[in-house]
């Protein structure tokens, strides 16, 4: 069986550096398997966050050869042959140790989004009626596993560090799921414009490209939300009126 060279980011007192490890790769292995093997064989204290190893919990996000991915869903057989595999923590979040980052900001942002507020039940037994066709798009958003890869790759957060001003793609998807929920009666449009900074997104679709659940973040969540904000606050007729009255 072939041994493959890995360059894994290890933190140390002066920040951190890549360390080389070699481990044997067998059929079907994913990158997370290799990291575990290295942990067991060479580096018991190598920090990596993981839970399900089935692409369902969204814990093992990292950057593999520079690409934001889930380590558990990245097969070794898809890595370029004969080249070392580089693994580093998500860049948009502070590093706690090695491959583990501090993603707590995401939990804080979510708490600021107004919660679900259903209309009164439709039937005397306290239940509601919803057509499958009306919930399909909400169900797409609710597939999100909160891996935060979209937050990692979004340049507003990654390059410009505007976590305080822009809620980021994950939270746009979350807001969209609430706003488009057939039972919801809350209004989050002003928050989207002001507190959550939807205007910062310039629809480069980087988030959509890395989503392991293939959620059409930009097209199905962010753009419709932008339209709601535009309809409310930037109505074109009003704009026209303002222009001519100058």
């Amino acid at each position: 069986m072939p041994k493959v060279l890995f360059n894994i980011w290890r933190t140390n007192s002066s920040g951190g550096e890549f360390q080389e490890y070699k481990t044997e790769i067998t059929e079907g292995m994913v990158v997370l398997d290799a990291v575990h093997q290295i942990q067991a064989e060479h580096a018991n204290d190598l920090a990596v966050r993981w839970n399900c190893k089935a692409g369902k919990c969204g814990s093992c996000s990292a950057e593999i050869n520079g690409h934001p991915k889930l380590m558990c869903m990245t097969r070794m057989s898809d890595m370029p042959e004969g080249k070392p595999v580089t693994i580093q923590p998500m860049k948009a979040f502070p590093v706690i140790k090695d491959l583990v980052t501090d993603v707590s900001v995401n939990y804080k942002i979510k708490k600021r989004i107004k919660k679900f507020k259903p209309r009164p039940p439709d039937a005397p037994d306290g239940t509601w009626r919803m057509a499958q066709g009306d919930i399909d798009r909400v169900q797409e958003f609710r597939k999100c596993i909160e891996c935060f890869l979209c937050q990692d790759v979004c340049h507003v957060l990654r390059e410009h560090h505007l976590h305080e001003k822009f809620a980021g793609p994950r939270h746009m998807v979350y807001t969209a799921a609430l706003e488009m929920h057939p039972l919801d009666t809350e209004d989050r449009t002003r928050d989207l414009k002001d507190g959550h900074g939807i205007g910062f997104c310039n629809i480069t679709k980087c988030c959509t490209n890395v989503c392991p659940e293939n959620i059409h973040i930009t097209d199905n969540a962010i753009i419709p939300l932008k339209e709601r904000v535009a309809d409310r606050f930037y109505d074109p007729l009003m704009k026209l009126f303002r222009k001519f009255s100058k």
């Binding site: 059929e27 839970n51 399900c52 089935a54 814990s59 140790k97 939990y107 679900f116 239940t127 909160e146």
Partner: protein, 606 residues
């Protein structure tokens, strides 16, 4: 307390899966102070992996369903070792709990008239599982998570509890550390709820998440609580078998519920060859009728692929053992064949089973709309756990509660699919309610400083041992335990193998005295595993000892040397407790008496 941060709460919930979050919500609603301790990040617990659905007799799809049928199905599935009162409460309350989730924002799949859709599942007489495609667990945990963050609940993420605290026979709190810095923390509490889930990670082939190490069961045991039914481990019939690195990963029973069939390498649907007497009346012997059942024909009987999990798992083992298995040591599960029946089959499959499609495509390079899957049994669930009072979920220790997979009683000797998610909700709520009530009626107990010192010293010992000479690698011991459990305490069990297993587990227990770890205390998986081994080994020993004690075959427990059911063993639960000398004591206790009216329901529906 010197050097250690102390947090004080009325109720502390250990575990943030479905049961833990539901308990926390209920306790907070009662107005007491509540903390939830998550071993991982919030929303990542093993509940997220549940696929098929949550069982509740909503009777949205088949109006003949009601709590009595659900109750009877649960009892039959558990071969009547269940705590009947728990099965009653579960069947009666699960519809309320499911509707409540909808009020909190869950978006279940719908019927044509806009109500919650329900699907067929093994052992359930009528379509009963509310679901969201094949990602029901994700929907459930996200709904509970998003609801909890707006309640008065303090959430501690990436904290691990390593011991419960006791004084004068009652619970005083819990002791643990935060993963990031590795600093010890004391949680001073009037009541503690254990909601730590299962133990699949003590086996080599498992569908379970990293977190499922049996921690809470062991915490309760070491605090002196009784465990019951530990011999009953559920091996889910359909785990992935290829490639090796994903071996054990779950394939939802929903595949069979949607019409998927099991075949051996001769192409035969072998499930027709062995239908147990208990299910003869409600199982079809005709392939065509079975298909009609999966498509909602109310007059059709269910196909044998939808028999209970214990039975299907054993039939698969038989096929493999007798040389009729698939190339990688499984059998074939085929959903692609339904293209003979419906025109848009590939789209239909992708829509009903999106995660399964994705999982096979990404991890095995198999398109399940075109070719069959290779499947084999995988360790999935433990029916046994901490013994609790049916109504309040209090354990045998005052102030200590348990709910969800780590608690025992509801499922008897075998759990029906879908009854786990409903278990979390029903008994999570009850645990929260009664723990809050208990905490109101009591004051904080005094923390025993000596106990804290003792645990801290034990916890830090792996750092003192260094890496020279006889030092043990924690990951190696973990792997060895998994190998032994898989080999000796698996689906098919034998007296001498169980004896050997106990010996091997004791030897591992000695090795953990020499386990060492390097690095520092901050986010150190080696240290974490070193401490966790004690819990894994405790639970492994409890399973092996209980399995040796039960000399019969029933539900998830199959003894090759005692292949039949025994009436005598049908009347008892195996109870495990730590004796005063610190040894594991195994006792047979009479199972709880069933109320007459409940017995009558069972008899009427036989």
């Amino acid at each position: 307390m010197a050097g250690q941060e102390t947090h004080s709460y009325d109720v502390v919930v250990i575990g943030s899966g479905g049961a833990g979050l539901r308990a926390a919500i209920e306790a907070a609603a009662a107005g007491v102070s509540v903390a939830v301790i998550c071993r991982s990040l919030l929303g990542k617990a093993h509940t997220v992996m549940a696929e098929g659905g949550v069982a509740a007799a909503l009777s949205n799809v088949d109006e003949r369903d009601n709590w009595k049928v659900h109750f009877t199905d649960t009892m039959r599935g558990g071969q009547y070792l269940n705590n009947a009162r728990m099965a009653e409460l579960h069947a009666k309350e699960s519809p309320l709990r499911v509707r409540e989730l909808e009020a909190w924002g869950a978006v279940f799949d719908r019927t044509d008239d806009g109500r919650i859709l329900q699907r067929n599942f093994g052992g359930h007489k009528y379509p009963r599982l509310a679901h969201v495609g094949d990602r029901t667990g994700l929907e459930m945990i996200r709904t509970l998570q998003d609801y909890t963050i707006h309640q008065k609940v303090d959430i501690f993420q990436e904290y691990t509890i390593i011991s419960l605290l006791k004084n004068d026979g009652r619970i005083t709190g819990a002791f643990g550390y935060d993963r990031e810095k590795g600093l010890f923390k004391i949680f001073h509490a009037k009541a503690v709820i254990i909601a730590t889930g299962g133990m699949g990670r003590i086996y080599k082939i498992s569908s379970n998440s990293w977190d499922c190490t049996g921690g809470g069961i062991s915490l309760a045991y070491h605090a002196g609580a009784s465990l019951i039914d530990m011999e009953f481990v559920q091996f889910h019939p359909t785990g992935m078998v290829w490639p090796p690195s994903v071996r054990g990963l779950l394939i939802t029973e929903g595949v069979r519920g949607e019409g998927g069939v099991l075949r051996n390498n001769k192409g035969r649907r072998f499930m027709f060859d062995d239908i147990p007497d208990l299910y003869k009346g409600q199982t079809s012997t005709d392939e065509e009728e079975g298909w009609r059942y999966t498509q909602g024909d109310k007059n059709a009987k269910r196909p044998p692929e939808l028999l209970t999990r214990d039975h299907v798992a054993r039939c698969i083992m038989r096929e493999i053992k007798e040389g009729r298995g698939s190339p990688h040591g499984g059998v074939f599960l085929d959903i692609a064949w339904i293209k003979e029946k419906i025109s848009n089959a590939p789209e239909h499959i992708k829509r009903k089973l999106p995660s399964m499609y994705h999982q096979f495509k990404e991890l095995a390079g198999v398109d399940i709309t075109k070719e069959p899957m290779e499947v084999g049994p995988t360790t999935h669930y433990i029916m046994g756990g901490v013994q609790v009072d049916a109504d309040s979920q209090m354990t045998t220790i005052p102030g200590l509660f348990a709910a969800g997979e780590c608690a025992a009683g509801l499922h008897g000797s075998n759990r029906l699919g879908g009854n786990s998610l409903s278990d979390l909700l029903v008994f999570g709520k009850r645990a929260g309610e009664y723990a809050a009530k208990y905490s109101r009626e009591t004051t904080h107990g005094k923390i025993n400083e000596d106990e804290i010192k003792e645990i801290s010293t034990w916890a830090l010992a792996p750092f003192q041992r260094g890496s020279a000479g006889v030092a043990e690698n924690p990951f190696q011991i973990q792997t060895d335990l998994q190998e032994e459990m898989q080999k000796l305490v698996g689906i098919v069990r034998l007296e001498n193998e169980l004896e050997e297993a106990i010996k091997k587990i004791n030897a591992l227990n000695e090795r953990i005295e020499r386990v060492s770890c390097g690095g520092n205390r901050g986010y150190n998986p080696g240290w974490h595993t070193a401490m966790e081994l004690k819990h894994m080994i405790t639970v492994a020993e409890a399973i092996a000892r209980a399995a040796k004690e039960r000399k019969e075959s029933r539900g998830g427990h199959f003894r090759e040397d005692f292949p039949q059911k025994s009436d005598a063993f049908g009347k008892i639960n195996i109870c495990i407790k730590k004796d005063p000398a610190g040894n594991m004591e195994v006792k047979q206790i009479p199972k709880p008496k069933i109320r007459e009216d409940l017995q009558q329901i069972i008899d009427e529906m036989k």
